[in-house]
């Protein structure tokens, strides 16, 4: 059973937010001051930046993690409400403005969100913040009653004196509590005292998302605002405007301005359709730059050629080369994965207003801190004169950690002097993305007499995201994002080598849901399956035998296998495959049942997922993330491919960059393994094992090993 939804009254009460009920509470306009917490209003208890309580007992939580679908508005609130012992029906949540000094992730130190870091990086800090507030409320009540603080407890929204049963509501205590010192080391609840954590609570944002009231970036309205769209170079990167003629564009009714900006020519109009028509009427001569020479066929060919060379060593256990040459059965295989685009349902956009002494940005961004810094740089304003309001995000998946669309909006608004909503088309979005890197991989392995691997050599050829962005960590030249999920292979193999050859053709790279693990789990979990089959062993038992040093991998693998009845007869016409992976602090294993039609079309019937994310704060939403991760991964495995020809991305919209649809949807069963460990991530860990589990199922059924994604149905066709 779920708890009741928030009452509308509680939500509406005192809301400064846009719309009704729970919505994103935007920061007050610039110029009104931004220190409400440093000097809280009378009658408000605000012990820290994460929560406040008013005299009516309404708790306001400030969530710093952008809501991109993962449920951060709800999860953050659950964590704080639990430790505060708040009444779930008297809580609202606001989205934090950009202000890294107050709201930065305590682990990364920045207000940029990716890597499934919401709960795992913040939970302890939020719990301490709420626990401090609860101790202060208890002390305030104890003082009021003249009793020892040890004699009082809390129940949702009230402090109770155990001996007499007297009660004081939190709202009655705000003035006294506000006057008390904030404890620095408050005692946290033991897990058995959790009231909300671990229960299935409804998402707080659902009401606004079923009524159209939720405000996404695209929905922002600012008085006097114009709408802009940018004509971008035909090449995916490095293109520049040589010259342009805006005469015809300016003649389009509704077009107000045409201005050159860093990423192309912005057409600013009174409505979107006019801006798009203006783009079409532009005459632009582009300097295409070196990218015009680049094509996917060439990238693949050069990867293959390079794979003959050795790369930088990312991991070396024992001596794989020697073991490979020592005789016994060996296997070689090459795997290739394509560039992928995120395809958020909400195309990139941002709204900006640039004034002489201040700048305001409204954006669906995973990176409020970076957006603020970017706007400050473009406008020349001090950082504290730049306000960034994070709206709801229509998908994130890593794409919205980039700041290109912020640059677009702020530059355009600065150029035209009025507020501008800068919108991308779907085509802009797919053709000017930051892509999951395409890589080519060569494996070599040797098996001993019993079929167990004695050597594993994995050579990855491809670019590195951090290397391209100039964000490599100190003391290494191996990009961690390129080797994640490969370097940390969990299998106990005595001679193991992972190498990386950095080859970057300049296609812009980005963090795509589960990043390196998204492809490296496919590659490694397919190849280990090849070894199991070569050894004539059951793929589940083979993995299990090699996971002796990885108990959490073993546990999710066993749980998925048990729930899927691994070893039982597979339903007629289906194959069954398995895979396991660690990523972003969590362990996931999947068993997939799939069939292949005579024309080669793949049908996924059933996905059984086991997930160990440590503490499951909201189990129903853990399941939601596993469901979403599986669909994201299946879409990529079945369809996902971005190709480049003469520097241009050849895909443009959902007809040639297809998404999985409801009629293709398998049944997804998620089983949560409560390991009691520290919280792990959830947005990403449900992705990596899916593609290999599917391809292993197809192999089990057809005997055809898929080593290149996306799956080619023509190669699975039966004559």
């Amino acid at each position: 059973m779920k708890t009741p939804m928030l009452s509308r009254r509680a939500l509406l009460k005192g809301s400064l937010a846009v719309g009704a009920g729970l919505t994103i509470g935007f920061q007050l306009p610039v110029g009104r001051g931004r220190a409400p917490l440093a000097q809280p209003a009378p009658g408000v208890f605000a012990p820290n930046q994460w929560l406040s309580i008013d005299r009516d007992g309404l708790v306001t939580v400030t969530n710093s993690v952008p809501e991109m679908g993962q449920g951060s508005l709800t999860t953050t609130t659950i964590i704080i409400a639990d430790e505060l012992d708040a009444d779930w029906n008297k809580i609202r949540v606001n989205q934090a403005p950009a202000d890294p000094k107050r709201y930065a992730n305590p682990i990364t130190g920045s207000q940029s969100y990716g890597g499934s870091r919401g709960v795992r990086d913040h939970m302890e800090m939020w719990r301490k913040s709420a626990a401090a507030a609860r101790e202060m409320l208890k002390q305030a009540a104890a003082n009021e009653w003249g009793v020892n603080v040890d004699s009082v407890d809390t129940e949702p929204g009230v402090v109770v004196h155990r001996a007499t049963g007297r009660k004081l509501a939190y709202g009655q205590l705000v003035d006294r509590a506000q006057a008390l010192p904030v404890p620095q080391n408050p005692t946290l609840k033991t897990p058995d005292k959790f009231r909300y954590i671990g229960k299935n609570l409804h998402r707080l944002d659902t009401p606004d998302k079923v009524t159209g009231r939720g405000i996404y970036g695209m929905d922002v309205q600012v008085p006097g605002m114009l709408v802009a769209s940018i004509e971008r170079p035909p090449v995916v990167s490095g293109g520049k405007v040589q010259s342009f003629d805006a005469t015809a564009a300016k003649a389009i009714p509704g077009v107000k301005h045409v201005v050159q900006v860093t990423n192309g020519i912005a057409v600013v109009a009174d409505r979107f359709s006019a801006a798009v028509a203006g783009r079409r009427a532009l005459k632009v001569t582009w300097d295409l730059g070196p990218m015009a020479q680049v094509s996917s066929a060439q990238i693949s060919a050069e990867y293959v050629a390079l794979s003959k060379q050795s790369g930088q060593v990312a991991r070396k256990d024992g001596d794989a080369e020697q073991a490979l040459g020592a005789g016994g059965r060996t296997l070689e295989a090459a795997y290739e994965v394509p560039f992928l685009e995120h395809a958020c349902m909400e195309p990139m956009n941002a709204t900006a207003q640039v004034m002489p002494d201040a700048c305001v940005v409204w954006a669906p961004t995973q990176n409020p801190g970076g957006s603020q810094a970017t706007a400050a740089k473009i406008t020349g304003l001090p950082i504290d004169k730049v306000t960034v309001n994070t709206t709801l995000l229509g998908g994130g998946f890593g794409r919205r950690g980039e700041i290109d669309f912020i640059v677009d909006a702020v530059e355009t608004a600065k150029a035209v002097g009025v507020p501008v909503k800068l919108m991308w088309t779907r085509e802009d979005d797919i053709q000017h993305g930051f892509y999951r890197p395409a890589t080519y991989n060569v494996f070599r392995a040797a098996l001993d007499g019993s079929g167990m691997p004695t050597a594993w050599s994995h050579r990855i050829v491809g670019p590195g995201i951090l290397a391209q962005k100039g964000r490599m960590p100190a003391n290494t030249t191996v990009d961690p994002a390129a080797v994640a999920g490969a370097r940390d292979l969990p299998y106990d193999i005595p001679n193991l080598q992972v190498e990386w050859l950095n080859k970057d053709f300049g296609v812009p790279l980005g963090f795509w849901r589960s990043v390196g693990s998204s492809q490296n789990a496919f590659i490694t979990e397919s190849f280990i399956d090849e070894l199991a089959h070569l050894a004539g062993k059951d793929p589940f038992e083979y993995r299990r035998a090699l996971l002796g040093k990885s108990p959490r991998h073993t546990a999710v693998l066993e749980l998925a296998a048990a729930q899927a009845n691994w070893g039982s007869p597979v339903p007629a016409g289906r194959g069954r495959g398995i895979a396991v992976a660690f990523s972003y602090g969590s362990y996931a294993a999947h068993v997939i049942e799939a069939s292949v039609a005579p024309d080669g079309a793949v049908r996924v019937h059933r996905v059984v997922c086991a997930i160990d994310c440590g503490i499951a704060v909201n189990p129903d939403q853990v399941k939601a993330q596993m469901e979403g991760g599986a669909v994201y991964a299946l879409t990529a495995a079945l369809y996902g491919q971005i190709t480049v020809d003469k520097g241009s991305v050849q895909q443009s919209n959902f007809h040639n960059y297809p998404m999985m649809r409801i009629n293709e949807m398998p049944v997804i069963e998620t089983h949560i393994l409560d390991s009691g460990a520290a919280p792990g991530g959830l947005g990403e860990p449900g992705v990596p094992p899916v593609a290999p589990a599917l391809c292993n199922a197809i192999f089990a059924l057809t005997g055809k090993r898929i080593r290149t994604l996306p799956i080619r149905t023509d190669e699975l066709k039966r004559a």
Partner: protein, 155 residues
């Protein structure tokens, strides 16, 4: 001057007849619950009802809506009590939520056609609506639930 009825309200608009209905809804009427995502009728995020039939408003010129009744997500029910909206809340269907206005409008239209849709009916009616967060399993369950709610005398 173009006239149409949106969510029960007569609207007179001075817009070019070729402007897509989506942008009239979003930019002129400021009803932003209906979303732009593909602009080519490929994803269904812009789905509204035109005289009760679900259409993709991103490729429907406003001229095609003249004199007709348009219902958007904001007009589906005054208090979010439509069985589809209630079922969506019960099952917490939305994740990012961006596609959900379109999903809900497609689902509501399906239930007016078929009181007890089968899985095949759902596939046929909903395959035009993409959800990148992958909420399809919950959408399917919520449509079955909404059908039950509707039969149960829901308001």
């Amino acid at each position: 001057m173009i006239t149409l009825v949106v969510n029960g309200k007569q609207q007179r608009l001075d817009v070019s007849p070729d402007v897509p209905l989506l942008w009239v809804i979003r930019e002129d009427l400021r009803l932003t619950g209906t979303k732009y995502s593909c602009g080519m009728a490929l994803c269904g995020a812009c789905t509204v009802h035109l005289d009760g039939t679900p259409i993709r408003s991103c490729v429907t010129p406003i001229s095609a809506a003249v004199g007709k009744k348009v219902t958007t997500i904001e007009g589906l029910s005054p208090q979010a009590t439509h069985p589809v909206q209630r079922a969506w809340q019960e099952l917490d269907v939305p994740q990012c939520g961006f596609c959900q206005s379109g999903q809900i409008m497609s689902a509501a239209a399906l239930l007016t056609q078929k009181a007890s849709p089968t899985d095949a009916d759902i596939d046929a009616a909903m395959a035009g609506n993409i959800c990148r967060c992958g909420t399809y399993q919950r959408i399917r369950a919520a449509i079955h639930r909404a059908a039950a709610l509707k039969k149960g005398g829901a308001r």
